[in-house]
Every structure is written in C-alpha cells, then in structure tokens.
Amino acid sequence: MAKIELNGIRKTFDQTAILKGIDLAIEDGEFIALIGPSGCGKSTLLRIIAGLEPQSSGEVRIDGVQVDGIRPSARNLAMVFQSYALYPHLTVFDNIAVPLRMRRHSALARMPLVGRLLPGRARTEHGIREDVERVAAQLELSALLKRKPGQLSGGQRQRVAVGRAIVRQPVGFLFDEPLSNLDAKLRVHMRAELAQLHRQLKATFVYVTHDQAEAMTMSSRIAVMIEGNIVQIGTPAEVYENPRDIRVAEFVGSPKINAMPGVIREDRGLEVLGRQLRLNTTAAAGRCTVCVRPERMELGHGPGAIAGIVTHLEHLGAEAFIHVKVDRIDLPLLARVSPDQQLPEIGSAIHLGFSANAVRIFDAAGKRIDVTAPARSERVREKALG
C-alpha cells in the first residue's frame, strides 16, 4: 500500500501556470478527494501523479521513492477515467485482462498467432482468467464478461473500468471524475459502492471531482484546490465547518454560504451591514466579509436583526429555502428552515439573525479571522445578532 507525497509541484502550459506549487502528503489507505471549480488544476495534478504528464518542477514520491521519469504503469497506480476509456472492440473479460496480459506476457507472447505457440503462455493465460473472474465476481460482472462495452449501461461500464483498475492490485487508485457521466440516481448508488470498495481494499484512493457531495460523502479528507493551489486540506466536516479561506467557504456547501459585507473596527468590534455583532477579533481594522451558512440563519425579531423582504420560496419537501432581499447586498440571503414551520409569504417583511458560533469572518484578502465572544457572554449559543 502506498503513501503518496507531492512536493512543490508546479505545471506551466504555454506561460500559463496551472499548478503553483502543490504540497500534499496522502497517507497510506486514505481516501482523499481533490475538489475545486473547473480549471483549478485538479485533473492535471492527478495526471501528474499518474505519470501521464510531466510536472514542470517538484517531485512525486510513492512510498518514499521518487517516481519522476518512471512510466505510469511502473508506478503501480491504477486510474479510472471520466469516460471510462474502455476498449470498445474488446469484451468485458478482455478489457479487464489487458493490464494483466501487458504485465505477465512477454511482448512476443502478445503477438498475434506467433504468441500462441509460446510455451508457458497457456499457464499464464489460465492465471489471468482466474484473476479476471475473481474480480468480475466481486463487482457482479460475471454474467457480462462476454459483452462489449457498447452493450453495457453506464453503471456497468463504470464497474468494468473499476474492475480493470483493481485486477492488478495496484498500491493506489486515481479517479478522474468517474461518476460525472452517470445520472443523478446512479451517482448516489455508485458513491456507496466506491466507498464500500475503499473499505474492502484498504488502498489509497485519490479522487478528483467538482461535485462536493461526492467528496463529502466518500472521502476521509478533502483537498480544496483553487486556481492552482491547495487552499485547505481537512476532513469533510472541518472543511465545511471551518473554512480557512472565503473561496473554500463559498465553494463547499450547497446552497452557497451567505456572505455579507462587514467592518472590523479599531476597537476590535465587528459590524455587519451597519449593525454591531456581539463578537470581538484581534485582527487589524478594515473591511471584512461575514459568512453564515443558510441552515444557521434564524428567523426572528430581535432588536439588532437584519430586516429584509422575502423574494422567493423554495419548498423541497424535507427542507425549505427562504430568499430574503436585504439592502446593500445584491444577492438575496438564504435561510434554510424546516418546512413544518409557518413559511412567510413572498413579499412580506422578515428579520434574520444568527448565533455567535455560526459566524465565519474573512478579512479583505479572503483569509479567515478568528473571533471571540465578549467575556461577559458565557453561552456559546447566544445570538451574535438578532
């Protein structure tokens, strides 16, 4: 099993920096998700780990061994592609057998006609058959071994691609948005299957996706990449609860976190939309952004609450979202509420507040600022506003 280390990986295409110095240590047996908006460089990083693309500088180590210049197949990593990249002319059996045949047969034995005459070829081929059938049984593909990829559903193709990856028992798996071609229902199902597979194999998984739900549900750690940098690494809960950068806060979580303009005063007090928060900070005075997740927004009429007008309601059955237009912010604020409470009418005036521990504050550069509740406030749940 493998520990994968990246040190100072940089990649430039035609003067454009795609990766700007990536340091990342992936532990043995870990399921790490690389997420980020499209164009952030996550797929390029994965291809560099695989060896499909050379980095401009920096090094990749697998189990402590530097692998730069070593062929992809010799790195003993398997990869599952977005389009699955199955060989359309080969049956499911042959698709899964390809990596074994490439490894176990000599070049001569792979030749058409001549190869069949070679001694020992039959024995090797027998071993390959056993391995392929074992993997097929594991993935419930046994009945499909004679089919061609064109005759399979999307989910089955996905499983064949996984089968081709696991059959040679690599030390690590690389996934490049493997679920993005599936419909929503199947995606949820395959998420569970992949997580199950990871528990079974106990191998290192590196999983690239732009879908945060996939990252949140499967991985043990998430690395959020933005514009060629890893901005934050942590468990899904950490990244969601404690974003260290406003871009992380805005990228993770759906619907998006509410962001409101605020000010850090000289006396260390904080204001949002002109109202004072019951919070202090040690950060330097200046502009800041005050963020609160929609589910932490509370409806109520406290003295300091933010007044707004309900512009839109989304009732999703298990939850409901209230869009509230507030002065001085272009986007409406979102509050996620339980649908069994009385929902306000569209067009009605409403007040919003939130607790002290719901607030995440970022300075003008987008970096997280630590805040403390004033000493007199003992209760964590005390409202910061409203």
Binding site: L52, P72, S73, A78, Y87, M102, R103
Partner: protein, 280 residues
Amino acid sequence: MVAPAFTLMCLLLLGPLLGVIALSFTDYQLGSPQFSWIGLANYQDMFGDRVFWLSLRNTLTYVAIVVPAAVALGLAVALLIESGGSFRAWYRTIYFLPVMATLIAMSIVWEFMLHPQFGLINGLLHGIGFEGFSWLQDRRTALYALCVIGVWQALGFNMVLFLAGLVSIPRQLYDAAEIDGAHGAWARFRLVTWPMLGPTTVFVVVITGIRSFQVFDTVHVLTKGGPSKSSEVLIHTMYVEGFEFFRSGYGAALTVVFLVFVLLLTLVKSALANRGVHYV
C-alpha cells in the same frame, strides 16, 4: 420539389443503368438502323476473347497492387505525421497535392519522367549503375509503371481519411493503455489505434478498390492498353469497344462485368461495417 431531381435521376442514372444491362443482350451498333436480341451471345464472345481475360487479369493485378500499397502507405504517412508535432500541415499539404493536380496533366509529366532515353527515372538509375527500362513501352513493366502512378495519386487521399480517423480516437484510450502497461508504439498501435481505425480502414480499402477498378485516364494517355495488351484494363476495353468501334452491345456487356465487381466491393463494405459495435 423532388420532380426535377427524380426525373433526371431516372433519365440519367437509373434508366441508363437498366439500359446498359438491356443493351448487353443486344447486338446494337451505333448508327445501324436495327438491332436484335441475341441473348447471352455478347457474354459468350467476351468469355471466349483473350483480350477480355487479359484485361480482367490486368485490372485485378492493378487493384491487387494499388489497394494494399496505397492503403498501407496512406496509413503509414498518417501515423508518422500524427506521431510528432512539427510540420504537420506542411506534410499534409505535400502528400495531398497529387489528389488535386489534374491526373491527365500529371500523367504526361510521368510519361516524360519514364522516357527511356531522357527520362529522370532512367537517368537516376544510370547514375547508380543500373540499366533502365522502356517503362511504358515494355510489356514487362508497363502495368507496374501505371500502378506506381496510381499509388502516387491515391496515397494522399487515403492519408487524409486516416488522419481524420486518428483524430477521432479518444485521447483517454491512450492514457488508459499507458496505465495498463502498453509501452511502445507497437503495443499502443495494436491495443488502441488499429482496432479504433477499423471502420476507417474498411472504408479506405473499399473506396481505393472502386477507384482502382475505374482506372482509365493514365492507361488511355500513356499506353492505350499496350504494348500488346499488357496494360489493357476493363474500362479501357469498354471504351475501345463502345466508343471507338461503336459496338455498344459488347461494350455494355463489359460494363456489366465492371459493375459486378464494384457491387461486390460495396457489399463487402456494408458487411464489414455492420460488424464491430463501437460506442462513443
């Protein structure tokens, strides 16, 4: 809307096609006042004629040389061009030039290049100590010289078709092959390129085959089927019989033979095209 097209199609394509088959059962000669149905007599004549068999054999030889050579070279050039980044457009343009250049004009150039005394080819051969040939006037070489011109002309067209086929192969398949351990050009070619080019290859083979069966321009200008019928080919025989001797009925019978071969090739193509289901 479809009336003009339909009328012309019947008048100029379908009608004449049926006409040529009907005509092959008559003894019609251009200008003669009457004609009669003679059943299979034209075909009997044809099968008894040494020239027909020579012509058929030469045509098949021509096809058997030009098709594999023009397809293999077209593929090789396409692979070589695609395998590197530099000068792609230049090479593509150069190799495509013969497709654009009027074949008749270029045949005349070839004729001069193959000139026994003052030709470039024999000049080059002399330069390295070989005896030259009277290429087009020698019954041993005339057909093969025409084959070389045929390959020269068809290669670029095939190359462009193969290039289009190569571009449409998904890049991720090559990545997957690399990860699976297919090292080296040959392993990649066997695992990905060749199977994925299958439909293109079938098409290229068939279209080159049909075009080679139609060979006429070079023969008519350079050898007139000679010397002593050594480069006589089907369409040229048909032309001579139909338009020089005006034996329309006999010419029609030759046309029917030609049609049978073209039809066979088309059938081969559709039979192969339906095999091998690929997904995108």
